[in-house]
């Protein structure tokens, strides 16, 4: 962590290693960290594999259709705006205070320990929610894949059995933990192939859907209209907000390309270029798929209609067969590989934040431990995995539609911690807003507008989700499950925070991580 005096600074380091260490002062030197660092293509590939478009869309398309109907393309376009605005602020903070705690550290610096702690909690909760959802989707597609390969469709239904489902999901989680703990990396080449395959399959899937529609074989052929791209055509603000909070989820993870090491091989322009190419690829893919699937299946509630609650939590799972026939197996493979590689990159996020929280004394010190062999935040990784597993198990037993509800709750959590991060950026840079036009845009306007949008989305979703019919329609005691979930997660965070405050008052007195403001 850079925000503390370095305890090891008195180490008898040689001039050789002193050269490495000296590079820490201002940014990273070419020699220090990034000898042979990730290049442009590498950065794009990592970005796409983090977003995992195949996984994201299969999980989010159905719920989004249920909120906004045919206006999904519009929502996808609009949803990118707050994400971009916040990511710009995120990048400023990352430049100024690079720290593995990201939102936690930044919010603590800007707003003090209490807000910072909750931002960290929100980030960890969001990533744990998505971990369980990822693993859940992977289980569905694993069984589908086996069914397709063996030619026995009954096998796909095994995923519906909660006990088999939970058992396999926990195995997935175990595998992902193992891979993350040991920091096992696929070779770059394999990763290129996997991402390339994913994109190719998604394009094939969309094109096939369009061709089937043109040939009159569509389930519910719906003529494509320009109004699909008009966000104002969404019937209510509630639906609009709910759709937006889902579309924030589909772009989540994109920011990594923007904040990846500035020393990415080539020039300073590489990260920006990588981020742009990544997001253009993703947006085009999303639009293509959403338009083609709506054209093919419509938004009705028929067997394959995107409005059918029975298929909404995992639309590719149900539509791959009717559209691609025997080639449907490719879709299963693409979603499986995309969830698998996304599982690994997603694991890193809560683990690193928990590590920072442990490091600054906001959580037990054990969380700060780094595996001496694999250089990963080992303890934090394992705790995240256990919590995600328990969470999935409980949700699978409680909810009628676990995947759907976790995705909706996830959108809410992302709005929560991203919103705080955006405001942290605005507040942290308050003394330098007007030093330059650049500052006005990147440290004031962009994060402020982004933060306000996310804040509005958060509260709208929170209030709407109290309705027991919200989302998948699961409810606990007459209140929507998504609301209960969000409240349990947030209030649980408050309880844990108070407990940590009793046990570790130093952090909450600002002794380990003090408030600060950018003054230059």
């Amino acid at each position: 962590m850079t925000n503390q005096p370095d305890p090891a600074s008195s180490a008898p380091l040689t001039s050789a290693s002193a050269a490495v260490d000296a590079s820490e002062q201002g940014g990273l030197s070419k020699k220090g960290l990034s000898a042979g660092s990730v290049g442009l293509i590498g950065a794009i590939v990592i970005g796409i594999s983090c977003i995992a478009p195949a996984y994201t869309l299969t999980a989010a398309l159905g719920p989004t259709v249920s909120e906004v109907g045919v206006q999904v393309p519009a929502i996808i376009l609009v949803g990118f705006i707050p994400m971009l605005l916040v990511a710009l602020g995120y990048r400023e903070l990352n430049k100024r205070m690079p720290d593995s705690g990201t939102s936690f550290t930044w919010a603590t610096r800007a707003f003090g320990p209490w807000v910072g702690w909750m931002a960290g909690w929100g980030l960890v909760a969001a990533t744990i929610l998505v971990l369980s959802n990822l693993a859940g989707i992977a289980v569905d597609f694993l069984f589908l894949l086996i069914a397709q390969v063996s030619g026995n469709p009954g096998i796909a239904d095994l995923a519906l059995n909660p006990f088999i489902n939970i058992a396999v999901c926990l195995l997935f989680m175990l595998g992902a933990t193992w891979v993350s703990y040991r920091d096992m990396q696929t070779t770059q080449k394999l990763q290129y192939w996997l991402v390339g395959f994913q994109i190719l399959v998604l394009v094939t899937f969309s094109v096939a859907a369009l061709i089937e529609t043109a040939n009159g074989n569509a389930f519910d052929a719906t003529p494509i209209e320009l109004s699909w791209f008009n966000p104002f055509a969404v019937e209510s603000f509630s639906a609009f907000a709910a759709g937006l909070s889902l579309s924030i989820f589909i772009f989540w993870g994109w920011d990594v390309t923007l904040t990846m090491n500035e020393e990415t091989r080539g020039s300073d322009k590489t990260p920006g270029r990588a981020a742009t190419i990544t997001v253009v690829t993703i947006v085009v893919l999303y639009l293509l798929i959403s338009v083609s699937l709506i054209a093919f299946a419509g938004v009705g509630t028929g067997e394959y209609g995107l409005g059918n609650p029975d298929i909404q939590d995992n639309v590719f799972f149900h539509l791959a067969g009717p559209i691609l026939g025997p080639l449907a197996v490719l879709v299963s493979l693409a979603v499986l590989t995309s969830s698998a590689s996304s599982l690994q990159s997603t694991f890193v996020s809560p683990a690193r934040t928990l590590l920072a929280m442990g490091h600054y004394g906001a959580m037990p010190e054990k969380f700060a431990s780094v595996s001496p062999r694999f250089f990963t935040p080992g303890y934090a990784t394992i705790v995240s995995a256990i919590v995600a597993s328990v969470f999935y198990t409980v949700m699978r037993l409680l909810s009628e539609n676990v995947l759907w509800d976790t995705i909706t709750a996830l959108g809410m959590m992302i709005c929560f911690y991203y919103g705080i991060t955006a405001f942290a950026c605005v507040w942290f840079f308050r003394k330098v807003w007007f030093r330059s036009v650049r500052n006005v845009v990147y440290t004031l306007l962009a994060p402020l507008i982004g933060g306000v949008i996310l804040g509005v989305l958060f509260f709208t979703t929170l209030i709407d989700s109290m309705d027991p019919d919200y989302g998948s329609g699961s409810s606990v005691g007459g209140v929507g499950l998504v609301f209960v979930l969000g409240m349990v997660v947030l209030l649980g965070g408050v309880v844990v925070m108070l407990w940590q405050w009793r046990k570790r008052p130093a952090f909450f007195r600002g002794e380990t991580l003090s408030r600060a403001v950018a003054s230059e």
Binding site: M1, T2, D6, A8, S9, A11, P12, L13, T14, S15, A16, S17, A18, A19, V20, D21, A22, E24, L28, K31, L33, S34, A35, G36, S37, V38, G42, V45, I46, G47, S49, C50, N94, P98, D99, S100, T105, D183, Q185, T187, Q188, L190, Q191, T257, T259, M260, N261, E262, S341, Q344, S345, V348, R352, L355, A356, H359, V370, P372, R373, F375
Partner: protein, 325 residues
Amino acid sequence: MNAGAPGASAASAASGASGADAALPRIVVGYTANESGADALALATRLATASEAQLDVVMVLPSEARSSTVPSDVGYERHLKARSREWLTEASSKLDAEVAQSLHVRYAESFAEGLIAAAHEFGASLIVVGAARGGILGRSRIGSVANELLHSSDVPVALAPSGSRELAASVGVSRITAALGTRPGAGVLLDAAVRLTKAMRAPLRLLSLVPIDLPAGMDEGLAELTSEAHADEVLVAAKRALPAGVETTAEVATGDTIEAAVRSLDWHEGEIVLVASSRLATPSHLFLGSTASKMLRELPVPMIVVPRSNGPRANGSRTTGKAAS
């Protein structure tokens, strides 16, 4: 931020004076903050004490370039580096102050690659790593790092068996055993052995292992006789090749297998074993042969694997392109 430079140059100067012509002027230790790293550090300290060499304790961190799925994070990388420096400082504070030492953090795509690059950078003549990583039930197992090193290093590699950390540096090196193959071509090994025995003032034991692993039906007695005779010849030839003034003993170890032959020998507490890398190795690179692998599994003492021919060390940079300096 760090005031390391003055102390460090003093340390290098101290070693530079005594280590210019010694067999082990500098020793690179591949350190990790676990038992395996402690084993490596303890063995290296013992070797450095015995030969008055300088220790370069190196921690190799994964470079960003190996990451293909996980986005890099500057904050986390800094944290790792700070943590590694703490680890190095802790390890260093436990070391005997008499031993000249310097601490380094390096980045490479793999631990082995980083160590080889560091060895080239410092002109080190030996890399020490822990051999056993999580060996089961006390048995030595070559970890993936040691394995990679043994298959790619052009610098001799010492493998510290699990438990090396319990042996005090003051034990020194009591004897050096050079394990000769049954085939000729042990020149490099003998050279290294002679250099080591001089540097460490230890006696030399020449060893020939004779496994009798024959198809059933063969006359075992006869086989044993011929193999032993052959082994004796190798030893005699080797002895003749040694320069005068080296205190040398010779021994032939027999057994049904290599493992049994190794078990039948006596080992001193502070002994080290020297083997040459396999004939399969590319010239001047290491490759652990099957015999040496089998030996390693049974050896209670550290093993040093020597490349078959000492190629020019100066152009070592050809393999180090990716490491940070």
